[in-house]
Subunit: 471 residues, 3 copies
C-alpha cells in the first residue's frame, strides 16, 4: 500500500479559515515573484558546466548535512549510506540500496524542515505523487534517475524553471573563481555570483592556515607576513571577487566577538598565528580583529558584510577524524552580540553606507539583542531565521520576536542559505507562505492594513534581499 | 491618495471568531476601568503648570526614544529631526519639516508597538481619520497643532479624559520635588506621585557621582563620607519622597547582582567611589550592596522596591559623545537572577511585608528564573513585560511563559512605564486587550472558567497594580 | 454560592473548531492506551503495603512541592499548613483547617498546571462536581476522606483503575529496595520498578557523602577508598537495582558538565571528597566525571541513563535551615550542554546501543542545543518538557522548538516525573491532549498527513516511552 503525496495549496497557512484565506490572498501576490538568493552554497560548476546531475543519492542525500545529521542520529552509520571514511573502509556503493535505507528512515523526518523541503522536491520538481517509504523507494529511485537524465533537469534549465533571478555562491579567499569567470563569458543569462568567505586565510584555527596565507601572498604579490601587507592582500582578493560579481562577504565565526587592536598588537597576533603558536584566545582575538578590518574594507569598497556567528563546527571528535567536516555535527552556542560587536560598532556602527547583516542560531537573542541592535545602528541589518530555524515555527518565532521591536525594514527578507539546489524553490515557497501567514495574522488582528501587508510581503520576498545585498 | 485610519474595535483580539467574541466580552468588563499607572516617566511639571503642549514634534517625537531609535536606525541623522548635538551644530529647526521627515519613515514602524500606540494617539486622542504618510504629514501637523492649542488638550484635562486615577513619575534622589509639592497644594484632584530613583547617588558609574553624594550630604545634613551616614541620608530622602506621595523606589541596574557585605567592606567601597578610584567591579559591587540596603529600608519604611535590571545604557559611543543619553541606544543583556538575587533574598526574601518587583528584558528568564522565583519567595513579584516587550506578542509571551508557573497573583498587573503621556491610554488599551485575548484562550480551552477570567482581567487591569504598589 | 467543576471533553484542545475536531479525533486514538510511567517519584511502599491513604492534606498538599512553592509565595507560612520545622515549633495540626487554608488560596493556582492536575483529580478521580473554594472546602475534605477509606481508593486498586502498565520509582544507591522485593514476591501483577539514582554516594556536596560512601563500601564489600573499588561498588549496586526491575539510572546535577579525567586525577578527587576537603569546583568535577563513568557502565550493563541538569536546589537558606529540602525552593539555571557534554560524547556519543536522555529547565536550549545534539548523536534522546514546563503551553513550546529540528523519534514520548500518585492520569491526560493538539496543527497545516499524526500520537503516548526505557 502506498500513500498519496500532495502539496496542498494551503500548506503552512494558518488553520483558521479567515486567516487562511487572507494568507492565501497575500501569497498570491508573491508566489510568482522571481527568486533572489543572495546567500547560499550551491556549486558554481553546476551552472558553468551544465552537466546532468547523477542520481538521487549523490544529488539529494550526500551533500545535505541536515539529512546526514538525522540519519546518523537514528543509528545509521555513514558508511551504510555510502560515505567513505577518510582512511578508506568498506562502504555501501549501491546507490539503490542507499536510497532504500534513506526511505526506511524517512519517517524520522516527520515534522522537520527537511521533510517539507524534500516533499516539495519530490512532488513539485519531480512530479512524484506517492509518499517516500520503503514500498516506494525503488519507484522514487527510478523516476528521479530518469528525470535527471533529461535536458529539463540540467542545472541551467532548472535555474530558469525555478525562476531564479540571481543566486550567490560562496567561495574561499584563494578560490580562482574559474567557474564564475566561465559563466561570465558563457553568454548564458542566468546570474550566478560569488561571495567572499575568507575563513581559510583569516581564521588561525583553520586547517593549513599558514599555508593558505602563504598562498594568499603569492596570489596577490603582497608581503603577508606584515599586518599591512596581509590586509592589502585581503583587499586585493575582495576586488577580485567583486570582478566576479560578488557584492558581499561572509564570515562564519564561533562567536560574534570583534576587536579594535593597535597595529603592533595585530602584527604580534599575525606572527604567532603564522608560526603556529597562536593560542585559542589568540585565534579568537585574531578573528575578532578581522571582523573589524572587514567592516573597514566594506566601508571602502561597498561590499555587504554577513556574520554567521555562534556555531561549534565539527563537534563529534570521532566523526571529524573519520569523515571530516560538515557531516551534521555542528551545534549552536549561546551567543552574545551586545558586548561582542561593540568594538566594531564603535568604529563603523554609525555608517549608513555600510551594511552588516547578523545571523544567529541562538533564538534567545532575537528579542534581547539582535532586534534592538538592528533597529538602532544604521549599519546593522537582521538576517532571516537561519539553518536550524528555517522552518515554519522557526520563521514565525523570528518574525514574532523581532518585528515588534525592529519592524520589517531593518531586516533583509529571506535567504535560503542552501547547498541543496533542488530545495531552493521549496525553501522560498515555505518562507513566503509563512511570512504571508504572519502578515495575515497582523492584518486580521488590525496591526496593519491589508494593503500594507501586501507591500511588506513583496518586500520580504523580493525587494529587500535585492536592495540589502545591492543586487 | 490617502488611506483611512480606523481603530478597529476588535484590534489585538484573536482572529478566531469564538475567541474574538470571548475576548471582546472580557474586554468590555475592563475597558472603562480607571488607569492606574504606578511606574512611568511623565513630567510632573506638565500637571503642576498645566501649560499647553507645544507641537507634534516636541510632544511626540523628541521625547520618545523608541522613535529616535528606529529613525536613527533607518539612517536619519538626529540633527535632521531637530536634535542639537551637545557641542552645537547645524540642526533642522523647522518642525513641520521634521514632522514630514517622520512621516516619510512611518512605514518603518509597521508591526511595532510604537505604531500601534501612535495610531491610537492619532485616531483616538486627536480624531485623525487618515493614515500618517508623506501625503498627510501636513494635515497631521496642522490638526495636532490646532488641538494642542485648545483647553481640552491641556495636561490636566487630558489626565481626566484619559481616566487616570493615579500616575507615578520618577525622580532622582536630589530632586526637590517642587512640582509634586505644588500639585499637593494646588487643589487639583488628579493624583500624581513621585518614585524614588536614587541612581544618581547610588551608582558610582553615574556622571558626577561624588558631587551628587556631596549634595546629598548637604540636603540631609548627614556625613555621607561614612557608610552609616550615607545610608541615613538615603533614608532621609526616602522619607522626603514619601511625603510627596511616593510609595515605591526604582533601581535601574546593568545586572541584578546583590551583595551582603560587612560594614568595613562597604566603607572601603564608598571611599573608593567617592575618591573616583572605583573600578568597574567596585561599582558593580557597590550597586549590588545598595540593592540589599534598599531592601532593608523597604522592610522598615514600607516602600515597594522595583528592580529594572539588565540594560547596557548608552551603548553607541559616538552618539553618547555627541547627543548624550536616552537616544535609543540602550540594549538588553543576558541577565541572571537566581544567583544574583540570593544575597538579598537570604536576608529579606521571606518577608511577606516587603515587595520587590522584578523586571527583565531577557525573555529567556521568564520561565527559567523569574516565574519560579516569584512563585516561591514571599517578597517577590513579577513585573509586566517591559520596554521592548510591551507589545501584543511580547505580552502574550510573558503571560504564556509565566502564568503556568506563577499564576497571576505573583504579578502586579500592567505598568505603562512611559514618558509619552499621550500614549498612556494607548498602552493600557493594548495591554488590556492582549490580556483579555490570553484569558479568552484559557477560557476557550477550559483552563479556567469565564467568571474566573473576568475576575483575573479586572485584577490585571486595575486591582493588582493598585494593591501591589500600595496605592 | 458554589461553581460547577466540569472536565470539558475538549479541554486543552485548540479553540479553532476544525483543529479541535481533529485533535479530538487523534486523542480518541490514544486516550485509553495504558500509562507507561518510566520516570517518577511515587513511593513503592504504597503498592507494597497497599495501605489506605490518610486524608486530603497528607495525600495532596504535603508531598507536592508545586503547591508548597505557591502557597509559601503567597505568604502562607509552612507551619500554617502543618509542616513542622526541623527544630520543632507550633504547627497547625488540624487537617481540616489546613485544607480550608489551601482552599482559600486555590485561586492563586489559576492558569497553572497544578490547578489543571488537581481539578482532574477532584473531578475525575474523586467525582467532585463543584469548584474548590472556601465555601466548598469542607465538602471536599469530607468527600475525599470518605473515598480514601474505601477499597477502591487503595493504591493497587487505583494503579489498575489508572490503567498503569508500569511505573518506575526512584531510589538512592543505598536503598535496600525492600518494597520492590516485596512487590516482586507478592504475586500482584502491577509492575513497579525502581530507578538507580546514586546522588547520595556520587555528589560530594550531598549531606553525609563520606558516611554514605562508607555504607556503600560495606554493602558491596568493596574498598571504596580506591577509585577502582568505588566504581566497582557502584557497578554492584546497579546490578542490584537491575535485579529489582530497574532499566534506568537518573542523575540530578546543577550543571550538565562531564569530564574524562585520568585515574590519578579521579583518585585525588575521591580522596579530597571523602576527607571533606573537596572545594565546590572539586565537587563539580567529581560529578562531571561520574556522568562519564555512568555512561561507561550503561554501555556495559544496558541501563538507560537520564540527566536532569540545571537546578539550584534548596535556594532559600532560611527555609532549608528550618524545614530541609524539597519545599518548593528549587530554581532553574541557565544551562550549557554543547560544551558540557563533549567529554562524555567524545567517549560514548557514537554508541547506538547506549541511551542518554537529556532533560532541561532552560527552554532556550531546546532549539539551540538539545534538539540539534539529540538529532545527531546516536546515544542522545531528548526527554519531554520537565517540571516547570510540564504544562499546556510549556509542552507546546517544547514540541514547536524541538520537532522541526529533531523530529519525534529522537525523543522519548512523555514522562510524568511525579511523586503525586493521584495526578498521574491527569498528567498523561494533559500531555496526550496537548500533543494531539500540536499534531492536529501540523496535520491541518499539511505538515504531515492524518494517518501519520495518528501513528505519532500513539508513539508519543505509549510506544516511545516503552521502547526508549527498555520496558
Amino acid at each position: 500500500m502506498t500513500h498519496p503525496l500532495i502539496l496542498d495549496p494551503h500548506r503552512f497557512f494558518p488553520a483558521e479559515p479567515a486567516l487562511r484565506t487572507l494568507a492565501a490572498r497575500l501569497f498570491a501576490e508573491v508566489e510568482h515573484l522571481p527568486i533572489v538568493s543572495p546567500h547560499g552554497h550551491t556549486d558554481p560548476a553546476w551552472f558553468a558546466t551544465n552537466a546532468p546531475f547523477e542520481d538521487p543519492v549523490s544529488l539529494l542525500v550526500w551533500p545535505d548535512h541536515y539529512l546526514l545529521r538525522m540519519l546518523y542520529g537514528q543509528g545509521v552509520a555513514l558508511e551504510q549510506i555510502g560515505l567513505a571514511p577518510l582512511g578508506g573502509a568498506p562502504t555501501e556503493t549501491d546507490r539503490r540500496v542507499i536510497w532504500r535505507r534513506f526511505a526506511e528512515h524517512y519517517r524520522a523526518f516527520l515534522g522537520t524542515s527537511s521533510r517539507f523541503w524534500l516533499d516539495y522536491v519530490f512532488a513539485g520538481v519531480f512530479g512524484l505523487d506517492v509518499r517516500l517509504e520503503p514500498a516506494t523507494a525503488d519507484r522514487y529511485f527510478e523516476s528521479i534517475s530518469a528525470a535527471l537524465a533529461t535536458p529539463a533537469f540540467r542545472p541551467r534549465a532548472l535555474f530558469e524553471r525555478f525562476n531564479i533571478e540571481v543566486v550567490a555562491t560562496t567561495e574561499g579567499a584563494l578560490d580562482p573563481l574559474a567557474h564564475h569567470a566561465a559563466l561570465q563569458k558563457s553568454g548564458w543569462k542566468g546570474r550566478v555570483i560569488t561571495t567572499f568567505r575568507p575563513g581559510d586565510v583569516t581564521d588561525p584555527a583553520a586547517a593549513d592556515f599558514a599555508t593558505n596565507v602563504a598562498a594568499l601572498g603569492e596570489l596577490t604579490k603582497e608581503n603577508v607576513a606584515s599586518w599591512a601587507g596581509y590586509l592589502r592582500a585581503l583587499e586585493n582578493r575582495r576586488a577580485f571577487f567583486r570582478q566576479h560579481g560578488a557584492t558581499a562577504t561572509d564570515h562564519g565565526h564561533p562567536t560574534a566577538r570583534t576587536a579594535d587592536l593597535s597595529p603592533a598588537e595585530c602584527q604580534a597576533l599575525l606572527d604567532r598565528a603564522l608560526s603556529g603558536r597562536a593560542s585559542a584566545e589568540d585565534a579568537e582575538l585574531f578573528r575578532a580583529q578581522i571582523l573589524t578590518e572587514m567592516a573597514r574594507m566594506s566601508c571602502d569598497d561597498g561590499m555587504v558584510m554577513q556574520l554567521h556567528a555562534g556555531v561549534w563546527r565539527g563537534h563529534n571528535r570521532e566523526l571529524v577524524r573519520r569523515f571530516g567536516r560538515d557531516k551534521g555535527d555542528d551545534f549552536p552556542l549561546a551567543t552574545d552580540y551586545v558586548a561582542a560587536l561593540k568594538p566594531l560598532l564603535d568604529r563603523f556602527g554609525n555608517r549608513a553606507d555600510f551594511t552588516l547583516i547578523l545571523f544567529t542560531l541562538d533564538e534567545s537573542t532575537y528579542s534581547r539583542e539582535l532586534a534592538p541592535l538592528a533597529s538602532h545602528y544604521p549599519c546593522l541589518r537582521l538576517g532571516p531565521a537561519w539553518w536550524f530555524h528555517d522552518s515554519p515555527d522557526g520563521i514565525l518565532r523570528f518574525r514574532r520576536q523581532t518585528t515588534e521591536i525592529a519592524g520589517f525594514y531593518n531586516g533583509v527578507g529571506f535567504n535560503d542559505d542552501t547547498r541543496a539546489f533542488f530545495s531552493i524553490p521549496a525553501r522560498h515557497d515555505l518562507a513566503r507562505r509563512v511570512d504571508c501567514s504572519y502578515l495575515a495574522e497582523l492584518a486580521a488582528t488590525h496591526r496593519l492594513d491589508e494593503d500594507e501587508a501586501v507591500e511588506v510581503a513583496r518586500d520580504l520576498a523580493y525587494r529587500l534581499p535585492k536592495s540589502a545585498y545591492h543586487l
